[in-house]
């Protein structure tokens, strides 16, 4: 090889020019084909106009206890949860509602095996907490729910879980989406039984089974 080049130095120049030409061809090919590959999956769809917002309804405000008293202006006097809880000892083992008393009397609780303090923050009763101990304000409760309900959150983020109102086409208008706790009572997340509305009265489909109640 080296002997050949010594005998014919011009061959090196020819090889160099040839290599450069190949490189430039490869670059042109790559630009053309890879560019096409990027645009190929984009189907014929509408030009994207200015997008409106998807708003998620905020979670509940930080709860306060109604004392039943009124102030001079006739407004209800409320107390923060921490007012009482700062003087009590947190019970991390409590996972039922049947022996709750005072402000919590009558609470219906059925949320797996969670204890009260799985979600409520023993260090700050006016907030909640994540599994790693970080505090979460009540309006941001969805972050807390999503720790366990990952599949529901995944579907929610893709728009296939949870009720909504407004526009499907965000270039035409905004959309408002429900928060987890708009539909699921966090203390009793299973949907309650409901009485169906508007039974059909059309001529064709007559009842084919006797009433079941």
């Amino acid at each position: 090889m080296s002997r050949l080049l010594k005998q014919h130095p011009s061959l090196a120049w020819i090889a160099l020019v040839g290599f450069a030409t190949l490189c430039s061809l490869a670059v042109v090919w790559a630009q053309k084909n890879l560019g096409a590959a990027e645009s190929a999956p984009v189907m014929k769809s509408r030009p994207k106009a200015e997008k409106h917002l998807v708003a998620i309804k905020p979670g509940p405000p930080t709860p306060r206890l109604d004392t039943g008293l009124k102030d001079a202006q006739g407004r209800a006097i409320t107390a923060a949860c921490s007012t009482c809880h700062s003087t009590t000892t947190p019970n991390t083992m409590r996972n039922t509602a049947h022996d709750l008393f005072q402000a919590h009397r009558g609470l219906s609780y059925a949320h797996g095996n969670l204890t009260c303090l799985s979600c409520h923050n023993a260090k700050d009763y006016d907030a909640l907490h994540l599994a790693d101990g970080r505090s979460v304000a009540f309006p941001d409760v969805m972050t807390l729910c999503a720790q366990c309900h990952g599949t529901a959150m995944r579907d929610y983020l893709h728009g296939s879980h949870g009720g909504m109102n407004g526009h499907w086409d965000l270039s035409k208008g905004p959309r408002v989406r429900n928060n987890c706790v708009n539909c699921h009572d966090p203390h009793h997340p299973e949907f309650p039984l409901v009485r169906p509305v508007l039974p059909p009265r059309d001529r064709i489909s007559v009842p084919n089974v006797p009433a079941e109640h």
């Binding site: 999956p41 984009v42 189907m43 014929k44 769809s45 509408r46 599949t151 579907d155 893709h158 728009g159 296939s160 879980h161 949870g162 009720g163 909504m164 109102n165 407004g166 526009h167 499907w168 086409d169 270039s171 035409k172 208008g173 959309r175 429900n178 539909c183 949907f191 039984l193 409901v194 009485r195 169906p196 509305v197 508007l198 039974p199 059909p200 009265r201 059309d202 001529r203 064709i204 489909s205 009842p207 084919n208 089974v209 009433a211 079941e212 109640h213």
Partner: protein
């Protein structure tokens, strides 16, 4: 009828015979007595005939009361020019005012370019509350007494897809533990058999996938109702009865304007809403969030996420009608 002949000497016979009555009284002209009887019968017959004719034509007079000449001569929706559709809409608005006492706005939104509507419904979530059917009833100006709605919700036994054993008349708290609930409405088929059978082309599929009806062109033969395997089409047996305050004033020509008696109607995915970018009424009413609506052509749409990531099926797939309405499960 059998008058005793001797009672009156003038009546027994025509006089052209040899009976005593005729021979004794020769003065009345022959045929005079007989023609009186004939005239009475003729008159009676004519009166009955006219009465029967008038009775037979009576529906026509009612028709002309309800159907104006403009409406009778109105062209097919697709052949109406912009001015003509405006005239038609003005007339329909006036009729709504005269007949229902409601101030309505009738629009005529066109399909959006590049949009193809798709609907998905999560059977794992639907609890059978029928709020969607109620919302449809209110949104689409359905007849109030008959509880008309484009949506029927089947209560089905878990593990079964037998609609004959499904129950749409359930009236107990839902959901029952051994049941699942399956709302059925127009599936907006890619190959709609209802469109194929229409003898007057009063129904067709629009560019955005919605099968619509020109209520003023429909002749009410109900072939489409028979052709639809989903029983998605409804017939207006009577003129819809809706109290004026309950009438939804946001109407469109091809969707929820008040339909006349004797025509077919069907779900239009609320095109008066969806073609303006809004969500359908049944979706907004769903308290469980079981319904997902969007543009099938948009890869980022919610409905495309469902189709690509969930266990999806269409109803009566074996018929090959390619519904644009999909059912899916969470698990």
């Amino acid at each position: 009828m059998n008058d005793p002949a001797p009672a009156s000497p003038k009546t027994p016979c025509g006089g052209n015979c040899s009976c005593s009555g005729g021979s004794t009284n020769a003065s009345p002209p022959p045929g005079d007595d007989g023609s009186t009887r004939r005239a009475v019968l003729k008159g009676l017959g004519a009166t009955l005939g006219v009465a029967a004719y008038a009775k037979a034509l009576a529906p026509l007079t009612e028709l002309t009361k309800e159907t104006s000449m403009d409406e009778f001569l109105q062209k097919h929706y697709k052949e109406l020019s912009k001015d003509e559709i405006a005239t038609v809409i003005t007339r329909l608005t006036q009729e709504a005012k005269e007949q229902y006492g409601a101030d309505v706005t009738i629009s005529d939104p066109k399909p959006q370019e590049g949009v193809k509507f798709g609907y998905a419904l999560n059977l794992s979530i639907c609890n059978g509350c029928r709020k969607c059917a109620e919302a449809c009833h209110l949104e689409n100006n359905h007849d109030r007494p008959s509880h008309q709605s484009y949506i029927r919700v089947f209560e089905m036994t878990k593990g079964s897809m037998d609609f004959e054993k499904g129950n749409v008349h359930y009236d107990h708290p839902v959901p029952q533990p051994d049941k699942y609930y399956m709302p059925v409405q127009c599936q907006q088929c890619e190959h709609p058999p209802c469109v194929d059978v229409c003898p007057v082309e009063a129904t067709w599929k629009e560019k955005d996938g919605i099968v619509v009806v020109d209520y003023n062109w429909c002749i009410g033969c109900r072939y489409c109702e028979a052709a639809c395997p989903y029983h998605a089409r409804r017939f207006n047996w009577q003129k819809p009865q809706i109290p004026a305050p309950e009438i939804n004033p946001d109407q469109s020509y091809l969707s929820n304007r008040i339909r006349p008696q004797g025509v077919m109607e069907k779900c239009t995915f609320c095109l008066h809403r969806t073609r303006n970018g809004r969500l359908p009424a049944c979706l907004e009413a769903c308290p469980t969030g079981a319904r997902v609506f969007g543009d099938l052509n948009d890869p980022a749409s919610e409905v495309r996420y469902v189709l690509e990531n969930k266990r999806v099926f269409v109803l009566k797939e074996e018929l090959g009608l390619k519904p644009q309405f999909f059912y899916f499960f969470d698990e």
